[in-house]
Symmetry: C2
Subunit: 287 residues, 2 copies
């Protein structure tokens, strides 16, 4: 595994690999890797000749009041994990490599960025879109691998790839969970063992709603209330939002149609840590 810091050098390597007919997959990460990230790497290795993992805590996707400075970092450990996975390139630029003095370009995706996570984090997705666009260009990738955990992010990136005609295929991998059901996240590092146990209710709540949907429930507010009432069994969890939406558009009709793909989206605070989770399900066409 070669570690590259300079974007121009990384792109030069990628262009030369492309010229040799190799296919490239990138796994964009902010580091502090867990098994969820490594599952994305496995997927990348399965579909492409060359795997580039990027490790960059992107300042542009954090608001000033957010945890950019305290976001967990452990480069040595991340490096060892990726090396063990036989990743070909670890691309690890500094902020000034990505956003040098004079940098003047920003990106805005309207609509889909303005709801759910976008309500609480209004500049977040534009920052994500910008860094992803740069990473796709630098890596010259054929495939970009993302986790379903950041569900709304996958929609934003998909929208950007389509709108900008990027010749990249996006691959979305299922949420990777702890045995308790807690979705893996670098931010779980902020949780105490007790909080982790409490946080596992999120998955159980989503599962309960899934069961109700499988049994015929189509009313959005009832689905939401099933998730809410389950999470409320742990009174110390503070709800940011719980809602159910059409999976592609994030529209929130009162009732879903048979056959529709929907997504249940949850954001809560466990202690001071904000956690998100989601579940996709298709409304059954017949009972």
């Amino acid at each position: 595994m070669e570690i590259i810091k300079d974007p121009t050098k990384m792109q030069g390597v990628a262009l030369s690999l492309k010229n040799q007919g190799k296919t490239i997959a990138i796994v964009p990460t902010m580091g502090f890797l867990h098994d969820g990230h490594l599952a994305l790497v496995d997927k990348a290795k399965e579909i492409a000749d060359i795997v580039i993992t990027s490790l960059f805590v992107n300042p542009k996707q954090f608001a000033p009041n957010e945890d950019f400075d305290s976001y967990p970092r452990d480069f040595e450990h991340d490096q060892a994990l990726l090396k063990a996975k036989n990743v070909d390139y670890l691309f690890a630029p500094d902020a000034l490599d990505m956003y040098p003095i004079g940098f003047s370009t920003s990106l805005h995706i309207s609509g889909i960025t303005e709801v759910f996570e976008g309500t609480t984090r209004p500049t977040h997705f534009d920052g994500v879109a910008l860094v992803v666009l740069k990473l796709l260009e630098i890596s010259q990738c054929n495939f970009a691998i993302f986790g379903q955990k950041d569900y709304q992010q996958t929609l934003v990136v998909k929208r950007m790839i389509a709108d900008l005609n990027l010749p990249v295929q996006m691959v979305i991998c299922p949420i990777y969970r702890e045995p308790s059901g807690l979705a893996m996240s670098s931010r779980n590092r902020y949780l105490t063992d007790e909080e982790k146990e409490k946080a596992s209710i999120i998955f159980l709540a989503l599962e309960a709603a899934k069961k109700a949907i499988a049994q015929g429930e189509r009313k959005r507010k009832i689905i939401n209330s099933i998730i809410l009432s389950n999470i409320k069994t742990i009174p110390s969890i503070k709800i940011d939002y719980i809602n159910t939406a059409r999976a592609e558009s994030l529209e929130t009709p009162d009732e879903f149609f048979p056959g529709e793909e929907i997504v249940m989206l949850v954001a809560v605070y466990v202690g001071r840590t904000r956690l998100i989770d989601n579940a996709l399900i298709k409304i059954p066409t017949a009972l």
Copy 2:
């Protein structure tokens, strides 16, 4: 010459040419081609294996009060000119091919877009940057050919290419002029013969200022006043702006340094037609 309307098809063709090891140059145009455009095509043919000319009047770079609807169009004639030049592909999408229903992405380049043309046309350059980004992706080009006529546009595109790590080399060709000195432009079509003759003063004014600079003039306001006093000899011409700036940053110091590359920028109305022109010159290091 093959005419392609569909972006996905154009990109598929381009990707397959790239896989065959061909280099590609794109000449982005809004059509109503003149010899200036054809000089860009010649340059493209000189440096790349495959030349794609795009012909797209981009609605996103016109403000509602501007001449999008009346912008001159003559597809048949353009097509014949490009065919005669042995262009490989004419990419001519419709607005809905480029911006389908649901399109949500916009781009903003700060700083350089906010002065000169940006004062009069505040949304213009973001619209230009967006369409150029899409055209670069669709064409998978190694080279993007632009004319110096739209000088500030070349700076905006250069900034975007650098900021987004696009693996594209920008090539800027000199301004192509009528025998009178009038810079060629599709908008010259709006001019009467008498207005055309009057408009040739712009070039003469820039030449007069160039001469003064070659003879030692370095004070910005004096350079501007030379251009102004020359243009004022045609009283019916209305000045939008006349200014001189550092060529790369468009900064406007009181006095330029020896050895600096500077640009003189002019925007005027001749009748109801807005014309722009410019000249690059290096401040002499010694007299």
